[in-house]
Structures are given as structure tokens and as C-alpha cells.
């Protein structure tokens, strides 16, 4: 388990969590901006407060549940596959599909949209944080505490910054790949076998995670760039 301060592992874990928080929390600002666009300004404030409160509550609940689940055999393996998918989705070019959502005319619809969208999108963030925390309650709590101001004060500045400097996202995707690999090799179902037969997987797993994510992301980008 991690110790405060003296352990470089702790700081490395914290750095990973901050990075994940930054790249996976920014969407919240756009969701709120889009959901509140047509509301009168006094209702906008209510929707923002309710939406932000719900986002925080969802994250804390889901992070706790995810951390508990990761103790169960096989679930880390499943989690790492999910994380690889999240990472590839992050690096793959955004499709222009979608845009089929409901029209938002009143306060209730705005809040409902913010909460549902938050539920789906905080899942990315929570799985990432839980995996990077590696069971450390301290790191998990810090990760959540850092993500909360990012949600509350979230602005599209972060997203614009990521849009201008894509390497931030690429590095984030690689980081998620690394964490996914690390998580896969520590699943209870496989640790015994790995320790006995293939201890090299402790290094190779994370490395393969990075390679897999970056290569898959590049391939998808190349496919999208090809004229149809």
C-alpha cells in the first residue's frame, strides 16, 4: 500500500490520476452548456447546480462500487478490456454520428439530460481512476477530490486546449493503455499463474497495453482520413 509523500509510487499514481481526470472530465462542461442553452438564466443556475451535484454524487458512488468490484476474480480483466476500449475511443477520430438526442425545452429535461450523460461519461473517469489507484483508498479519494473541482468549474477551456494540442490526448490514451495492462496482470484469477510461469508479463502487460491502444488509435485515424 502507498505511503504519504516518501513513496515515488504514490506520486506517480497521483500524476496518472490527475491526467486521467483532466482528459476525461472536460466533457461535462459541454454537456451543461448544451443542456442549458435554451433555458432562461434563472433556470440555468438551477440546472447547473443540480447537474453538478448529481455528477459528484454519481462519481463517488460509482468509484466505491468499482473499487469493490475490482477485488473479485476476473473483474479486473474485464475492467482492463473496458479501459482499453475507453482509451481507443479517446484516440480514434470522433465520428459525426449521433445528434439524435431529445430536444431540451424545460428545466426538468435539462437536468435529466445532464444526469444521464454524466452517468455514462463518469464511468470512463471512474474506471480510469479506480484502476490507477490500484486499491489505494487515499489515491482514490484524492482522484475524486481532484475531479470534482474540474467538474464544478469545468469550462470548455480544457477541451479547447486538448483540441489544439492533441499530444495531451495521445499521451492520456497511452496512459490508459498502460494502466489497463497493469490491471489485467494483477487480476486475482491470473496472478498465481503469472508469478509462476510468466513473471515477465508484469512489465510486458503494461507495455502491450500502450502499444495496442496507440496502434489501434492510429489505424482508426488512418481509416477515417482515407477519402470514402
Amino acid at each position: 500500500m502507498f505511503e504519504w509523500g516518501s513513496n515515488p509510487q504514490f506520486w506517480l499514481g497521483l500524476l496518472q490520476i490527475v491526467w486521467i481526470d483532466i482528459i476525461l472530465s472536460g466533457d461535462n462542461a459541454v454537456v451543461i452548456a448544451l443542456a442549458c442553452r435554451r433555458l432562461p438564466s434563472h433556470q440555468q443556475r438551477v440546472a447547473i447546480l443540480a447537474g453538478t451535484g448529481a455528477a459528484i454524487a454519481l462519481r463517488v458512488t460509482m468509484a466505491t462500487v468499482v473499487t469493490l468490484l475490482l477485488e473479485i476474480s476476473w473483474l479486473k480483466l474485464i475492467g482492463s478490456v473496458l479501459l482499453l476500449w475507453i482509451a481507443i475511443k479517446l484516440l480514434a477520430p470522433q465520428d459525426e454520428e449521433g445528434g439524435e438526442g431529445a430536444s431540451i425545452g424545460n428545466l426538468w429535461q435539462a437536468i435529466r439530460t445532464i444526469v444521464i450523460a454524466d452517468f455514462v461519461m463518469s464511468l470512463d473517469n471512474v474506471i480510469g481512476i479506480a484502476a490507477a489507484a490500484k486499491g489505494s483508498v487515499l489515491l482514490l479519494t484524492l482522484g475524486l477530490m481532484i475531479s470534482i473541482p474540474l467538474i464544478v468549474f469545468s469550462s470548455t477551456v480544457i477541451l479547447r486546449f486538448m483540441g489544439r494540442y492533441p499530444w495531451i490526448v495521445t499521451l492520456g490514451g497511452a496512459l490508459l493503455g498502460y494502466i489497463a495492462g497493469e490491471m489485467a496482470v494483477t487480476d486475482r484469477a491470473v496472478t498465481g499463474w503469472i508469478a509462476e510461469h510468466a513473471p515477465v508479463l508484469h512489465i510486458a502487460g503494461p507495455a502491450l497495453g500502450i502499444v495496442f491502444v496507440v496502434v489501434a488509435g492510429k489505424l482508426l485515424a488512418a481509416r477515417a482520413a482515407r477519402p470514402a
Binding site: 472536460g26 466533457d27 459541454v30 454537456v31 452548456a33 448544451l34 443542456a35 442553452r37 475511443k89 470522433q94 465520428d95 459525426e96 454520428e97 449521433g98 445528434g99 439524435e100 438526442g101 431529445a102 430536444s103 431540451i104 439530460t113 444521464i116 450523460a117 455514462v120 461519461m121 470512463d124 470548455t156 477541451l159 479547447r160 483540441g163 489544439r164 494540442y165
Partner: protein, 142 residues
């Protein structure tokens, strides 16, 4: 007739580029058609798009773009300068260069942040990208 494109992001630098363009046009012997363009980065991710209507997302980009163009519009209206305004969504350098090509612009006048040598190399700038991608002369205003 000359067509001049001024990409605008609402910053002081882009404001200076607009001011320069107004002077440039005043001194030009041939009539000039001025285009001001704001490019919005595609910040609405695939995950977010699921929850909203296409028209709302487009309107959101247009609103943010109009907001970024406001200072330029005020300056141009004050100077009595006619202009065409446009908001596009895409990556900054590519979209500016594409617009210039599509509209057959003869010049691009743009502000530059004047990054230091090191950060300029690491981060690149929109101006660098545009110069790289376009065939027309680019006037950089610092």
C-alpha cells in the same frame, strides 16, 4: 477584386489583425471583399453527441463563434467596413486554409501570439500551420 481573409478568435492579437486589415483595405487601390472567419474546435465528443440534437450542437458552435467574432464585428462596423462573417468547425489551421482555398481568397491576415522559440517549436502555432498549408500570401500581425 481582392479577397482578404482574417481568421478571428476573439483575442487581442486577432483584434490587431482586424485593425491592420481595415487599414490595408483603406489603402488598397482595388476593391476588397473582407471575410472574417472564426473556427470552433470540435469539442463535442462522440459521447456527448448521443445526448443532443444535431441542430442544438450546431447552434452551440455558432453561438460560441459569434461570441468570438463580436469584438471584430464591432470594430468593423465602427470603421464602416463591409464584411462576410463565417463560423466553421474543425481543426484550426486546416479549416482556415480550406476556407481560403474554397473562397478563393488572395490574402490571409492573421494575428500571431508570438510564442517564444521553444514553446513555438513544441506546441506549434496556428499561424505556422496555416503558412504550411496555404498557397496564398499570409500577413502576420504581432
Amino acid at each position: 477584386m481582392l479577397k482578404v481573409l482574417v481568421p478571428v478568435d476573439g483575442s487581442k492579437n486577432s483584434d490587431r489583425a482586424v485593425a491592420y486589415a481595415i487599414g490595408f483595405i483603406a489603402n488598397s487601390k482595388t476593391p476588397v471583399e473582407l471575410h472574417v472567419l472564426n473556427v470552433q474546435l470540435p469539442i463535442v465528443s462522440g459521447g456527448v453527441r448521443m445526448f443532443f440534437k444535431r441542430e442544438d450542437i450546431e447552434a452551440y458552435y455558432q453561438d460560441s463563434g459569434q461570441e468570438a467574432l463580436r469584438a471584430a464585428r464591432e470594430r468593423l462596423d465602427q470603421a464602416g467596413q463591409a464584411y462576410v462573417q463565417q463560423v466553421r468547425v474543425g481543426s484550426l489551421g486546416e479549416t482556415i486554409a480550406d476556407y481560403a482555398k474554397e473562397q478563393h481568397c488572395d490574402h490571409i491576415v492573421m494575428g500571431t501570439r508570438g510564442l517564444s522559440a521553444v514553446s513555438g517549436m513544441v506546441l506549434g502555432s496556428v499561424a505556422t500551420k496555416v503558412i504550411h498549408l496555404t498557397d496564398v500570401p499570409v500577413i502576420l500581425v504581432k
